[in-house]
């Protein structure tokens, strides 16, 4: 396999960053490069044949095909929802290709079999797939490529429609943890997949989830056995590369009794003029006393300065606190995508279970964000906490939409919600739409929302101390989102702070 000179790559990334920053007015998206990798691409269009093709390509068992076809039939009866505060031309699914895979891809693989071009792509993104280097004890190998991930991270890399490599599998297998692509799980662990797939997000949950159920191509599968604390961060890195393709990944994470896992997700795509569709489904299941921490840094291509191009990101993420005292925590940093439609939620079914949602959503240019969470209290003594920080700049619209509801049987349900919006400039909009539903006299809910701008006094103070306007804005915004930042894994924090600065460039002056 190819031997990379890591420092050179690092320099290349730095140079590229500098160039991007300099060329801000033109295009400031650092991950906008396209990788020159030969691909198998399914011609655009969605029919029953498409579903059969994907299933066959994945060598799936009959039950999986049936599951997909059922979803496809239901999908045909559904209409695209219009309730979100989002405006975009109707997506013509017949224009979208539902399957694209690097040509070199030939099923389960070791790093040595991976196309060097592809590895290069991930290196460029700062994603360590070189477990040998890290395992061999080359200290800081991960750090030196400027990765957001520390050395102690296992990665599943999903390129267009397929998982290309999953690192650290053997290490994890030693403690009984299953970490692989969902396609592989369907073949190798059908009992787990059958039991849990669609058990949190039912097949016909909503328009996009139903579409995903019919055509999902790949994604990650995690199973943490009873009593195991996952020794490293697990992560999936999604990359859309092909033109006119949709990405429909499916992630399923199961934390069995008394287990713990922290999971990171990152995503990027090349800069393209046309819009691309991303409709993922993530299902989390936490059994008795289990804890799942799920962090996302979403940096899909947001479109250019005129609002051309960019990813349409319609994602269904839901966690089921199925066991007693289980705990699911969502942390998200949303900086990318032309359109974001995403509500990572928790079903607090188990007595004493706990749900958390920490979110930073930044919109600039012509981005539109409609995101938030749902906390559904079903069990007794359940609690939830929501901290959302929305920052709108440029011509963007940024909406927090959330639901907190306590079922009649959810005795002593507790929720605390804090939603803050910050407006930068007078051409953007910030909106807050919470649904607060208490159906139980013992429930106690507290919700607070504020909207403000960076005060002139704060700006002047920072400028007087020598910071320029962009530095001052970045600093103040990083302060504004601090309550959320501190819930990110250490590996993500620094990268996120930088990402915030980059996302807001060009928003002042």
């Amino acid at each position: 396999m190819a031997d990379y000179d890591i420092p050179t790559l690092k320099e290349e990334i730095d140079r590229e960053t500098v160039e991007q920053v300099l060329a801000l007015d033109v295009d400031k998206y650092k991950y906008g490069f396209e990788s020159d990798i030969e691909s198998d691409v399914l011609p655009p269009g969605l029919t029953e044949e498409t579903v059969r093709f994907i299933s066959a390509k994945k060598e799936e068992p009959e039950w999986m095909l049936e599951w997909r076809l059922d979803a496809f039939r239901r999908f045909q009866t559904l209409e695209e929802p219009t309730w979100a505060k989002l405006h975009y031309p109707k997506i013509d699914l017949q224009e979208v290709s539902f399957y694209a895979a690097p040509k070199s891809f030939k099923g389960p693989k070791s790093l040595a079999d991976v196309d060097p071009e592809l590895l290069k792509t991930y290196e460029k993104l700062g994603i360590p797939l070189k477990e040998q280097a890290i395992l061999a004890g080359v200290e800081g190998a991960a750090e030196s490529v400027g990765t957001p991930f520390g050395a102690n991270v296992a990665v599943d890399a999903v390129f267009d429609s397929v998982s290309v490599v999953t690192t650290f599998r053997e290490e994890l297998a030693k403690v009984g943890i299953i970490f692989c692509s969902i396609s592989e799980a369907v073949r190798e662990h059908p009992e787990l997949v059958k039991k849990y797939l669609g058990s949190v997000v039912p097949v016909s949950d909503n328009y996009y989830a139903t579409l995903n159920s019919a055509v999902f191509t790949d994604g990650s599968f995690v199973y943490i056995p009873k009593g195991v604390r996952c020794p490293m961060e697990l992560s999936t890195y999604f990359r859309i590369n092909e033109k006119k393709t949709g990405q429909f990944e499916r992630t399923l994470i199961i934390a069995d009794d008394d287990s713990y896992v922290s999971y990171l997700e990152g995503c990027t795509a090349p800069s393209r003029d046309e819009n691309q569709l991303h409709a993922a489904v993530v299902e989390l299941v936490a059994l008795d006393n289990a804890e799942i921490k799920y962090s996302t840094v979403q940096n899909w291509y947001p479109g250019d300065k005129d609002g051309k191009g960019g990813i349409y990101n319609f994602v269904t993420k839901r966690g089921d606190c199925r066991g007693v005292n289980s705990h699911i925590s969502w942390t998200q940093v949303e900086t990318g995508s032309a359109i974001t439609w995403k509500y990572p939620s928790c079903i607090l079914r188990g007595d004493g279970s706990r749900g958390e949602f920490y979110s930073i959503a930044i919109s600039n240019g012509y981005q539109q964000v409609d995101s938030g969470t749902k906390m559904i209290h079903l069990g007794k003594n359940t609690s939830s906490r929501i901290i959302s920080k929305g920052i709108a700049a440029g011509f963007s619209d940024n909406t927090y939409r959330g639901q907190v509801s306590a079922h009649a049987k959810a005795k002593n349900a507790r929720n605390f919600t804090q939603c803050d919006s910050l407006l930068i400039g007078d051409k953007c909009g910030a909106h807050t739409v919470p649904y607060i539903e208490s159906r139980n006299g013992t429930a106690v809910f507290e919700h607070e929302a504020t909207t403000s701008k960076i005060s002139d006094d704060q700006m002047f103070y920072c400028l007087q101390r020598g910071l320029n306007e962009e530095e001052a804005v970045a600093l103040i915004v990083n302060g504004f989102v601090r309550d959320v930042l501190q819930h990110l894994p250490m590996e993500f924090m620094v990268e996120t702070q930088k990402l915030i600065s980059i996302s807001l460039e060009g928003s002042v002056g």
Partner: protein, 402 residues
Amino acid sequence: MRPAFPVRLGAAEETLIAQLKAAGADQVAERVTVAGLPTRRVEAYHYTDLKTLLRTVPPLAQPANEATGTAIRVPGAYALSIVNGVVQHAATAPEGVIVGKTHGGVLTHRDDTLVGISNGLTKEALSLDLRGTIDQVIQIDHRIEGEAGHVADATKIFVADDSSVVILETFSGSDAAHVGNHASYLALGKNAIVTHVTVDLGSRATAHFATNEYHLAEGAQLRTLVVHAGSGLARTHLFPRMEGAGAHADVTGLNLVSEGQHSDITMETTHAVPHTSSQPLFKSITRGRSKAVVQGKLIVARDAQKTDAKFMHQGLMLSDDAEILSKPELEIYADDVVCGHGSTCGKLDEDSLFYLLSRGIPKAEAETMLVRGFIAELIDPIEDEALNEALQGIVDGWLLGQ
């Protein structure tokens, strides 16, 4: 938006369509025919699904020329009345008050079925032109008398520049299953100071709908208080609009909801120009199996810089099986603003209750005391003593009655 398939129309809708057509309101009739009554999918009706809640609509009420009672009496008030939609003859008006009648509906056209029905069915409205400092409270008593009837009535009120007035509108009637669709349009001149209190004391069988529209010119100060304390189904939709710099509105409301009742206060405040403020404050108290809804949207227009607006809803649950549903909303397009909202929900504070009990106050009395304290913020600002007392009386009556 038109749904893809025509909706199935129920008895209530069939009656409404016939009534609207007979009144010549073909457009509204068409709207009801195509979309039906608003369901939970219509955001403003998310928690008050009229298609489910309003199964039948009685025939239009026969004109009546006499009220058999009144909701409340406020000593010293100048009383006017509208019975079954007919504006009654008025006693000699105090200085600065001109009482009149206008024909047809009073509400600004908007995308809302109840507004459409109000405008379509209202035959005449009571109009008031108010000028100067008017010390007497003006009470407009709306009554629905006799057999179950559907009534659309309205008031249209102009308050001149630099004038001040307190207006009370009360709603009540016989025990039949009435449907009342009431509209109030208030325009406040420059620096006008207006208090507008509306109280629903309809029967349990009644469905009470009210739409209140307010336009505030420069420096105008508005205080509203909506009290739902009667009808089985009550919904008041408030549309205050700040149209001049310095305008300020304290938009307040109280849902008092008992077994089997459903009360909804929905507000949409628009800050259309720079330098305006509003302070919406709503409270809901529920007991038995009941439902209270408060929705409050603050809209700040693109150029409405320096808007200062804070919405608050507090829910108090006196029973385990009640529901309090709240949807505060911010829709903000200007950056130099201070806007926010809060919503809390819970039961009586146990520490406070314990403190009172430990001082020897019996539980029921202690609870009453705390509930009164909870509501005080809404009632206290009503400065007219007689009106303040009357409102306190309604709250006490609700607390005593089960």
